[in-house]
């Protein structure tokens, strides 16, 4: 579990503003009930649970950009379907991916893929993957 220091500066800082702008979501609408994490089919392998991702985002903690959770989220929309406050967490995850890609470059590079696996992989997965893991697609 990551530890992070809170500060008024970070809460009012650029990261919170960017996440809200890219996602179109009001982060403070989340009251941390945890339903997103309870229903997330990939939460078991995330280093920050979905509700913790929002918590980090609310406080403007850049550590969230280092989390594996933003890359593991498959935009399956289960959390959004169950959020009692209608927070569109898949959009928050996408905003975090976009910011991380802008800062750190592409998460997926074609030359890293196994040629034999790609040969059999459906185009849907390849196109979807590059849309999510590189900046040009988003």
């Amino acid at each position: 579990m990551m530890r992070a220091r809170l500060s008024g500066e970070r809460i009012k800082g650029d990261l919170v503003r960017k996440i809200e702008e890219f996602s179109g979501q009001n982060l403070l609408a989340c009251n941390q009930c945890g339903k997103c994490s309870a229903g997330c089919p990939a939460a078991a392998v995330m280093d920050l649970l979905p509700n913790q991702v929002i918590r980090y985002a609310q406080f403007g903690l850049e550590e969230v950009l280092e989390s594996n959770s933003i890359w593991i989220c498959a935009s399956c929309q289960t959390c959004y379907a169950r959020c009692p406050h209608g927070v569109d967490l898949p959009r928050v995850m996408e905003a975090l991916r976009v910011i991380a890609l802008e800062e750190g470059g592409d998460y997926l590079r074609p030359q890293e893929l196994d040629e034999d696996e790609v040969a059999e992989m459906p185009q849907l997965a390849i196109i979807g993957g590059f849309r999510k893991y590189t900046l040009m697609g988003g």
């Binding site: 392998v45 935009s75 399956c76 289960t78 996408e94 992989m121 849907l124 979807g128 849309r131």
Partner: protein, 271 residues
């Protein structure tokens, strides 16, 4: 299939890929242009577009919704792709056309007629209807069925004369495009889905999404390696099962391309 049911489909001229994901960043208009172009091409030919893929359905329907709700962005996208799309196309999944236009009662009648001619029937076959994510969610935009407790595939299976198995993971994610970066996670997520269907007595599973079909089918060798008790479960596209129920000639339906061969299970029921 559509022809056999008296439904007329016309091939979309000048189509392009929808992009396979709906862009979720609010300012990403570039990724909207691809699916918007598909809608424009379809509108030139008809008042609606049919898709067989849950992902195309999701991307096209959400794009359409976006263009309907935001006139200013619609204008910008129209300007960019040199079109005058007004947002007045209907996006439909083939399942939706079966339910709302042909009707499942009419389909059942066709299935009954086919049974009388061929002597073949799906009676007794236990099938798990798997929805996954994008066919249903987000419900406010997709509006196909209840996102947590859908019925459309169960009702289809009833009409086809087989038994729809109720299982816990029918609206859980298979892992989708994570296949590209985290194939092991897709194996785990797809295993949870199949495990739940098998535990509920399913002999087959049907999907309405090609990526679900691939993930659930192709990861099973790996699942068997990790879980010695795992028994493979054939994964069919819903149209394949429909074709069998309607007594259509199924020799060239790519059965040999399945990772888990469904033919032994089908043979048990004389199909």
């Amino acid at each position: 299939m559509a022809k056999a049911l008296g439904l007329e489909l016309e091939e979309l001229q000048d189509w392009n890929c929808c992009g396979a994901t709906f862009p979720l960043a609010m300012d990403n208009l570039l990724a909207i242009t691809g699916p918007a172009r598909v809608l424009v091409a379809a509108r030139a030919q008809s008042e609606r577009i049919a898709t067989l893929c849950a992902i195309c359905y999701n991307v096209l329907k959400r794009t359409n919704h976006f263009l309907q709700c935001d006139a200013e962005k619609r204008e910008r996208i129209n300007y960019f792709i040199e079109a005058e799309y007004a947002g007045d196309l209907r996006v439909q999944h083939f399942l939706e056309i079966l339910r709302d236009e042909l009707g499942f009662d009419a389909l059942k009648q066709r299935v009954d007629e086919a049974r009388e001619t061929t002597g073949k029937s799906l009676a007794g076959l236990k099938v798990a209807p798997y929805y996954g994510c994008l066919l249903l969610r987000p419900q406010k935009e997709m509006q196909l069925d209840d996102a947590e407790d859908p019925r459309i595939m169960e009702d289809l299976l009833d009409a086809l004369g087989c038994e729809a198995v109720d299982f816990s993971h029918r609206v859980e994610c298979c892992g989708s495009y994570l296949l590209v970066t985290s194939a092991d996670l897709v194996t785990d997520m797809s295993y949870a889905v199949l495990e739940s269907a098998i535990r509920s007595g399913a002999e087959l599973l049907v999907t309405a999404c090609p990526l679900c079909q691939y993930n659930l089918d192709s990861r099973q060798e790996e699942m068997a390696r990790q879980h010695p008790d795992f028994k493979p479960l054939p994964v069919l596209y819903f149209t394949q099962l429909m074709g069998l129920a309607l007594g259509l000639d199924s020799d060239d339906w790519g059965w040999e391309l399945h990772h888990v061969d469904p033919r032994p299970v089908l043979a048990k029921y004389g199909l």
